[in-house]
């Protein structure tokens, strides 16, 4: 590997990974290696906060006494890590347009590959770091000296991360060697990513169905055989079986690295040129009817913005997959299907919080304006109202979000036995919650608008990136659970539940009025 080239490529990719932070530091006069150091520092700071945050929440359970829970968490975060890696690799190697800018330059294939894989790994850290905490905490609970436990956890984490990354890369890049892939790149990638997500959702549903609610109401999990050796590695590291498993893990990892080097990396550039050459002039014929009205034309235009290969998959996975993992991993009890009408309000508020979790910086509504790229400025020059244009866009994103939430709530309704009336109340809550949260994210996209992005991930990582997304999701969920818990307690404890519901309704109306008035004053009223 050429250090000079790898360093330069990593510097470029770090800037691409978080353009917003890059611009912020540039404005403060940071350039060159000083800027690179600040970006790394920024990432490390967020990672440490995230690790502490996750560590504290995991500290509560003694995993050595719950091998089932341990293997459940491993399976959960592996599923998430694999699905995010697949998306990341597809993005970085195929959707990201900067790769073809490297083609005429004499960079070595290994360095381009290494820089891209490092960036994918950094980007999926928020989804895999919980594993590091899980390993470390399990080792500490197993009374292994803390330094040894942390080192073991780190080594195991690096091996698992490598296996995820290399395995996914192997699948995607080996597939891309085929002529069929080169001709139908977009279709195959979409199918592959779609399958990954379906497998992930089905896997999580399956895992969730494996749990038993004991008499205490606390969930217990059967041990998942495939991951039991990882548990033993950490709890009984010196047992003969564990030593053999350590050796197997090392051999498999080194074998995979060797295989990847031989079969993929050595021909990466020519493979990229092939893929690049064959998709260059692919023509997409529109099957949509031509619209004569402005609203119809704008709707049709907004639909076409979704044609970015990985956009829909990413939106889907971040809006559904990540919340599902969080909801499943932190909901500890079932819900009775025979709840009375007095619970409608609780489900309405639950729906609102659900929209707070599913809507994030990766949602469609949070990126629709940036998807316009330079068109946004051009449209400002046309004789149409900017407010009308933006409202049209807002409602397009809002409806897309509602569809996602409705699917999620109906699925949860089945899993947790909500019943039709409660599910409907939850959906209505999510409609209102999405509308309010949408105001924030739509305005955020307007403030942080990025028109010269080359890779969709650049849009998702504006602000604090994936780490911030997960932190916000955590906070919304904890606050949501506390409020829902308090609300439920009041419904049960107060003899006249309509009073509690009435007070909550008044609070909701006031909060809604405040939110709408705020965004009217800071955003909508300035548009024309």
């Amino acid at each position: 590997m050429n250090k000079q080239q790898l360093k330069a490529l990593l510097s470029v990719n770090l800037r691409l990974l978080n353009p917003q932070a890059t611009n912020k530091y540039r404005e403060k006069g940071k350039t060159g290696s000083a800027l690179t150091r600040r970006l790394i520092g920024n990432f490390l700071f967020l990672a440490i906060i995230f690790v502490l945050f996750y560590g504290m929440s995991m500290m509560a359970a003694d995993m050595t006494k719950a091998p089932g829970l341990f293997t459940y968490f491993v399976a959960l975060f592996l599923i998430l890590g694999i699905s995010q890696s697949m998306t990341g690799i597809a993005n970085v190697f195929f959707a990201q347009k900067d790769l073809q800018d490297y083609l005429p330059l004499p960079f070595s294939e290994r360095d381009i590959f290494a820089s891209k894989i490092i960036i994918v790994t950094i980007n999926i850290f928020p989804f895999t770091l919980p594993l590091l905490m899980l390993f470390a905490i399990t080792g500490v609970y197993a009374k292994i000296p803390i330094v040894v436990a942390v080192i073991m956890a780190l080594v195991l984490f690096v091996i698992i991360t490598l296996l995820i990354e290399l395995g996914c890369t192997f699948v995607v890049l080996l597939l891309s060697k085929t002529k069929f892939f080169q001709k139908h790149q977009q279709m195959i990638l979409n199918i592959l990513l779609g399958i990954t997500i379906v497998v992930a959702v089905v896997g999580m549903m399956f895992l969730n169905n494996q749990m038993d609610s004991g008499s205490s109401g606390i969930r217990t999990f059967p041990v998942i055989g495939l991951f039991a050796p990882l548990f033993n590695l950490l709890v009984h590291p010196l047992a003969m079986g564990s030593i053999i498993h350590w050796i197997v893990l090392f051999v498999v990892t080194i074998g995979l690295i060797f295989l990847l080097k031989k079969s993929v990396v050595s021909s990466l550039m020519s493979q990229m040129i092939n893929v690049n050459s064959n998709v260059e002039k692919a023509k997409v014929k529109s099957k949509r009817k031509r619209s004569t009205s402005l609203a119809g034309s704008l709707r049709s235009y907004n639909f076409k913005l979704l044609a970015e290969p990985n956009l829909l998959i990413q939106i889907f996975s971040n809006s559904i997959l990540v919340p599902i993992v969080f909801i499943f991993s932190f909901s500890f009890s079932g819900i009775s299907s025979e709840l009375g009408i007095k619970w409608l309000g609780v489900f309405f508020v639950g729906g609102m919080f659900m929209s707070g979790i599913t809507m994030n910086q990766s949602s469609l509504i949070s990126n629709l304006l940036s998807l316009d790229r330079d068109n946004f400025e051009y449209i400002s020059s046309l004789p149409i109202s900017k407010k009308y244009y933006l409202k049209n866009k807002f409602f397009f994103g809002f409806i897309a979000q509602l569809l996602i939430n409705a699917i999620l709530i109906i699925t949860m309704g089945f899993v947790y036995n909500f019943g039709i009336v409660m599910s409907l109340s939850c959906i209505l809550g999510s409609v209102w919650g999405s509308f309010l949260a949408g105001q924030y994210y739509f305005y955020r996209d307007y403030r942080l608008r990025l028109t010269n992005w080359t890779n969709i991930t650049e849009l998702f990582t504006r602000g604090g990136g994936n780490l911030m997304m997960i932190l916000i999701m955590f906070i919304v969920m904890i606050v949501g659970l506390l409020i829902l818990g308090a609300y439920s307690f009041m419904i049960i404890a107060v003899s006249k539940p309509w009073m509690t519901n009435g007070v909550v309704a008044i609070i909701l109306i006031l909060v809604s009025f405040f939110v709408m008035n705020h965004y009217k004053n800071v955003f909508w009223k300035f548009l024309d």
Partner: protein, 253 residues
Amino acid sequence: MIEITNLSKNYGTKKALQNLNLKIEPGKIFGFLGHNGAGKSTTIKTLVSIHNPTSGTVTVDGLDLAEHRQEIKRKIAYVPDTPDIFLQLSATEYWDLLVAAYQLDRDAVQSRLQKLITLFDMNFHVDETLSSFSHGMRQKAILIGALMTDPDIWILDEPMQGLDPQAAFDLKKLMQDHAQKGKTVIFSTHNLDTAEQLCDELAILKKGQLIYNGSVQDLLNQHENKTLEQVYLEMAGRSDSKIMDELEGGGHE
């Protein structure tokens, strides 16, 4: 010397380039002319390893491009037809990236880089991002990067686009100097005056096929009393002028 033999490139069923055969000698400025979609950029992108040919070979100084890509890339400086690349980087960061790519010593190129920055009047913009530049300034930043690395072969795809008259004049001078040193300059252009002024040799492409290869003077000698524009339009232009007459004579009907 660059030798292109039976080079063809298809995009699906569309034949973008058909059996192109060319020899490009060092010490000359070689120009590609042709309408939009004639195959100029496809040829250039194949030469700089962005595209793979469907068939045919390219050799540079006797080395087969398909087998010696890295070695050949180090001999080439390329300016793409659109300067919208690496927009998130500042101009300095972009040049640093090239220094690393060509494995050059930063201090060794610093003096040449500084001269180019001054020549193209970019002194006050080196720490600004390429995305904040106008089209012409982006073009200058990309040109500075390519010329800074100073390899033997310059391949410039429509390099004058967006440049101000002074920068265009300076670039032409640099291209001539480079060729006079016995090195190769290949460029594509839609500007026939520039082609006439600069090119030692021309290739005119039409719908993916080579319709002329030779010197400008030979071409003009073959068509006495005609300008290069007239000759070019006769060879590569539209045969039917009816549509123009219709437009001028009330095409809104």
